[in-house]
């Protein structure tokens, strides 16, 4: 369990550095620390499916982000929020306190870590192979028992990529300084 907490602390540090640093390459590398710590956490919790997806997505997104940074700029934009900064800090801490309070209340009522009391999971484990014929139970759940969710996920990916391609397209875009 102790290594889990070390990795979680590493993730928090990586996320904070990624937000605060002004060098964009450092920010991307810190984000990578975050993602690869998550890979190790998935491996420690015996979730190889998630670990595979996370490691390849993390690597590829780092490559894409660094390629985009090399094409544009390395410097973060200057922040001009010094007057309202105190208000932002106070408001942020206020909401963090509220969030922590309710998280504590919820955790009091939850089952012990690693011992969920879900009846559906037990029946999936018992009937998965018989009902679907798929040896990988994760595949059986995401594509048979929970196929709707996967279709929704695939649609979200499809829609977001369509949005990116539409925003960054070249055809039909007006030239600079051209009116109507």
């Amino acid at each position: 369990m102790i290594e889990l907490y070390i990795l979680l602390a590493l993730m928090a540090v990586g996320a904070i550095i990624a937000l605060e640093t002004h060098d964009l390459i450092s920010a991307v590398i810190s984000l990578g620390v975050c993602g690869f710590s998550l890979v190790l956490i998935f491996l420690l919790l015996h979730a190889p499916d998630l670990a595979i997806v996370q490691i390849v997505v993390e690597t590829l997104s780092l490559v894409i982000l660094i390629a985009a940074i090399l094409k544009t700029t390395r410097e973060d934009t200057e922040e001009r929020l010094s007057l309202v900064k105190t208000g932002l800090w106070v408001g942020g801490l206020f909401f963090v306190a509220i969030f922590m309070y309710f998280t504590y209340q919820v955790l009091q009522n939850m089952a012990e870590f690693g011992a969920p009391n879900l009846r559906m999971a037990v029946s999936y484990l018992e009937m998965g192979l018989k009902k679907t014929g798929a040896a990988n139970l994760v595949g059986a759940v995401i594509l048979d028992f929970r196929g709707y969710d996967t279709l929704g996920e695939a649609t979200v990916l499809f829609t977001s990529v369509m949005g990116v391609l539409a925003v960054l397209r070249k055809i039909g875009r007006k030239k600079e300084g051209q009116n109507e």
């Binding site: 190889p48 499916d49 670990a51 595979i52 997806v53 390849v56 997505v57 690597t59 590829l60 490559v63 894409i64 390629a67 985009a68 094409k71 544009t72 192979l129 009902k131 679907t132 014929g133 798929a134 040896a135 990988n136 994760v138 595949g139 059986a140 995401i142 594509l143 048979d144 196929g147 709707y148 996967t150 279709l151 695939a154 649609t155 990916l157 499809f158 990529v161 990116v164 391609l165 960054l168 070249k170």
Partner: protein, 146 residues
Amino acid sequence: MNERGMSLIVKTIARVLVGMIVLYGIYIVAHGHLTPGGGFAGGVIIAGGFILLYLAYGASEKESEFKKWQASLSESLGIFGFWLVAMLGLFIGGYFFLNVFAKGQSYRLFSGGIIPVCNAAIGAEVAGALVGIFIAFAALKLLGEK
């Protein structure tokens, strides 16, 4: 020699590796119902192979537009195939996402009914999506550039 892309060493290594990477991605997709992995993971690995090729060799503006179109086509066909398999269950068995194909013998490559088909469709969709995003963000000229 071609001006575009990276050095000769990178090009040679990429040429040797890309076949293995794509083959491994196809293996992950095809065995998604037997071993850890599946459409999402395998699709990203396949996209990684193509992106390696792209980074090593580079491409002109026109080729990039064409490749973006291809990636978009692969993505659209993937999600259309996935939806089609789901609709097949509705028309044959009366339920959306019903496992209509034969289950086959467990632990074999051809087992699990619709699950391998869905995995292949998701693999095509994810690979096309990531290659398309990579081309849009990194390869084509961005907004401010001349």
